[in-house]
Amino acid sequence: MALSCDAYRELAAIVGERYISSKQHILAGNRVKTPEIPFEYHSPDAILLPGSTEEVAAIVKVCNKYGISFIPFVSGVLPDAYANREGTVLIHLKRMNRILEINEEDRYAVIEPGVRHVQLYPEVRKRGLSYTAASVGPGGSVLANFTSTSGDHHTQYGTSRANRYLLSVEMVTPEGEILRTGSLPSGCGWFCPDGPGPGLRSIVRGYFGSHGQLGIITKAAIGLEACKGPAEYRTEGISPHHRVIFDSDLSRVYVFNYDNIQKVCDAMLALGEAEVCSTVQKYFYLPLTLLMTDSANDFWKKWTGGYKEAMSMPLVVHIAAQSLREREYEEKILFDVVRETGGVRLPEELENWWSEHMDFFMVVSRLQSVLRLGGGWMPLKLGADSVQHVCDVGQSIGEYIYEFTETGKIFDAPENYQIIPMEYGHFAHIELLFMWDRTNPAAMKGVGEFRARSRQEDLRRHFHAEDLGCLNPTMEELGPLYSNCHIWMRKIKESFDPNDVANPML
């Protein structure tokens, strides 16, 4: 369904002819399909590149007037950002890319949606600050990280989930009204999410992220943390064998292997209790190997040549200290905990790779190499609960994944889940990453089957591990597990978006 001439003309009048297109080859750039995702994609009718909140609001009003669905878009890493019904326009927020403020005293940054991790992270780091940069690659939108998705990643051990760092926001509601939340409308600045003023964080963002369903957030303040380590780092070498040089006396990485998840759980809880270390995670063993390889062929050599067994259940620990004494103190506790819980330190040649690539822990470098096996990839679960609970979830995966690995539908890596303790182990995030071969039709079909099975198993066991997401069928299925929150989510959506135009998911 093409846009009507009137609608196109009104939209073009808002952004200017340069920043709107309905040409097929331009639309093709955002007609990206992730074929294994079980909902139907459509071509957007137009793509717009607004330059301001006012332009976004005007576009949204035109969309409501003509019944056009709209999807806010920045990097497009997630499948939620593509047209999922006919009569949709993409509102590409790329041009709204200013860092409006970095407040060192109150530790927050105010950003527009087009600011990427690769841009904000070094700027805050120069000021001795940091934030939880989601595992999406350098081009991911920082704002979307904090507002629209779960936004979790592997350096949150000493911090918390992304939703806890969202402060005041400016947004355009699904009907085109400009709304400011938290301390902002009271003229008190951006520092507070809950007032004085309307505290709508839980509504506009929620636990799993809004995915653009409640309008378009055009400015947001995010909380920052103090960071340990250098304000700027030096990089040597040419990609892909470049290295970030850290002060090795104050930064160390250790990798230990365990023979069962309960021991890993005990180690995580003990380290959290002592509040030591900068990163603690039970990492995916398949990506662990992938990160250390130069090509898929190199991966296969290493995976079948002993890496799989050597790192079958790895606990990765990064220590970043302010002083030598602090590092030694943390190391002493770490080694005591590992000894008591039965961990085995990796051979030097394997562990050294991590010591030489500590940027992975700082800036989530190189992460996309986990996609090296052809791009068939999907994270599951993505929920959070106590460390013990998510470890039990991890333990359960092995009981049903074999049906899929043994039939070749998904990659044979049953322990390929990560657990990230947060707030020093007060709770933890779990992510099951599974991969398949995109050239295998049976595997493509198996993706949906495995997703459904994973949900069913969690429901059966009353596990709080699955992300409710934003697809209606998934919400209906999992909502009862989360106090029927899907009913409230739907009511809120209907109130904010009576015309059902803001990223209406199936």
């Binding site: 097929q24 040419i238 050239t439």
Partner: protein
């Protein structure tokens, strides 16, 4: 060259992570200078990026997209600088740039080659240079007393740019002579290197010209070919093996030769009159795109296993260090590094001039802005096309210096 179908794996592997548009995380420095794709930065729509072009290629391969509504212009506005390709390949096993080349070939076959590129091809066919200048004048800049060493097995390939920038081959000649390198010129037997043909997807014309050139080099008994043009150098290393067996031929850029001569103490250098802070701009075809192309005709098995194993061109072994070594050897010259340097260098935009002059000018101005931000008083490079772009008029003006010319000016009189 290859067909679109050869790159289906790349098309279906892309997870639109955006690494083709942004600097590598480990090399990021701040908000500014973070984009590595000038096409995407300027035009905004994702279709104008490596990711977008790969998606377009897939739709074209599947018969879902036609030329004629501007796609052909978009495709050739891309400078094919390869930044998307190299950054993608820092983490993935995908061929982004080769997919773009295959799409260009598809575009040419469909009869939609933009007019300026068609004209260039006609020039090469008729006059053996991209400008349509008389072939007889290719070496008209050469001093009359120049004596050719016809016995040498090394040749200096001056390239078409000699018509526009004769000071560059003259400088190269001075450097080689000063360093005692025996070489010869090919005179009327030297034709265009063919870069503009193969990079614009004109397979048959490129194949014909490149085969002819390789035969000529062999006929002249050449073992080593030196050039002062990054475009020619990148074509020899990354393009020629796609069409012809270049076995027995070694290709060297003048910066590599000069760096070696300097390291050996074979070039007597004098001090410059004034201190100078310069930023070195890595030409795409000398840096990330100059690795040797090794043909691969294998199969991709499940989960990305390439059989037989493929030799990837990830940009790691380009010519980065030698030009910097030359600059460091020049007393009084201080090298300032830009944020986007080495394999992350931003393209100068030259290759887009014929199709989208406004975008090309913006790209050059953006690169000069970055050079200025590094504290440089001048930008140095070693590619005549980069010279046209960066040394041309436009915003953020900054003096441009060719590396070979700068070095030749520093040779002592006796050299």
């Amino acid at each position: 060259m290859a067909n679109l179908a050869d790159f289906r794996y790349t098309m279906e592997s892309c997870n639109h992570c955006g690494q083709c548009k942004w600097i590598l995380p480990a090399k990021m420095k701040g908000w500014d200078f973070a984009s590595i794709c000038p096409l995407h930065e300027y035009h905004g729509f994702d279709a104008y990026s490596g990711q977008g072009l790969v998606q377009i290629a897939k739709e074209r391969l599947d018969g879902k997209l036609d030329y004629g509504d501007g796609l052909e212009t978009l495709l050739h506005t891309c400078t094919a600088c390869g930044a998307c390709d190299i950054n993608c390949k820092s983490v993935r096993d995908m061929e982004v740039l080769d997919t773009i080349y295959a799409l260009r070939e598809d575009c040419a076959k469909a009869g939609y080659l933009p007019e300026p590129l068609r004209r260039t091809a006609e020039n090469v066919e008729e006059t053996h240079n991209i400008y349509g200048e008389p072939h007889a004048e290719r070496f008209s800049w050469l001093p009359p007393d120049f004596k050719n060493d016809t016995e040498a097995d090394t040749a200096l390939f001056v390239g078409c740019s000699a018509y526009r920038h004769p000071e560059i081959p003259l400088a190269a000649i001075r450097i080689l002579r000063a360093g005692g390198v025996k070489f010869k010129l090919l005179y009327e037997d030297e034709w265009c290197c063919g870069a503009s043909l193969w990079r614009s997807g004109q397979r048959e014309a490129a194949e014909k010209l490149i085969s002819r050139n390789v035969d000529t080099f062999h006929r002249h008994g050449i073992k080593t070919l030196i050039t002062a043009c990054a475009e020619c150098f990148g074509a020899f290393c990354g393009g020629y093996p796609r069409f012809s067996d270049t076995g027995g031929l070694e290709f060297r850029h003048i910066s590599q030769v000069a760096a070696k001569l300097i390291a050996k103490g074979s070039l007597p250098l004098k001090k410059g009159e004034n201190p100078l802070r310069v930023a070195y701009h890595d030409p795409c075809m000398l840096g990330r795109l100059s690795e040797k192309y090794v043909p691969w005709n294998g199969k991709i098995r499940p989960f990305g296993l390439h059989v037989p194993e493929k030799q990837w061109r990830r940009g790691e072994h380009g010519v980065y260090e030698e030009p910097r070594a030359v600059l460091r050897a020049l007393e009084g010259v201080t090298l300032c590094e830009m944020t986007r340097n080495f394999e992350q260098a931003l393209c100068c935009g030259a290759n887009a001039r014929d199709v989208d002059a406004e975008f090309a000018a913006w790209t050059a101005a953006e690169r000069r802005r970055e050079a200025k931000a590094s504290g440089a008083e001048a930008v140095v490079s070693c590619c005549p096309f980069c010279q046209d772009a960066l040394g041309g008029e436009g915003e953020n003006p900054l003096p441009y210096l060719d590396l070979a010319v700068l070095l030749a000016d520093r040779l002592r009189e006796e050299a």
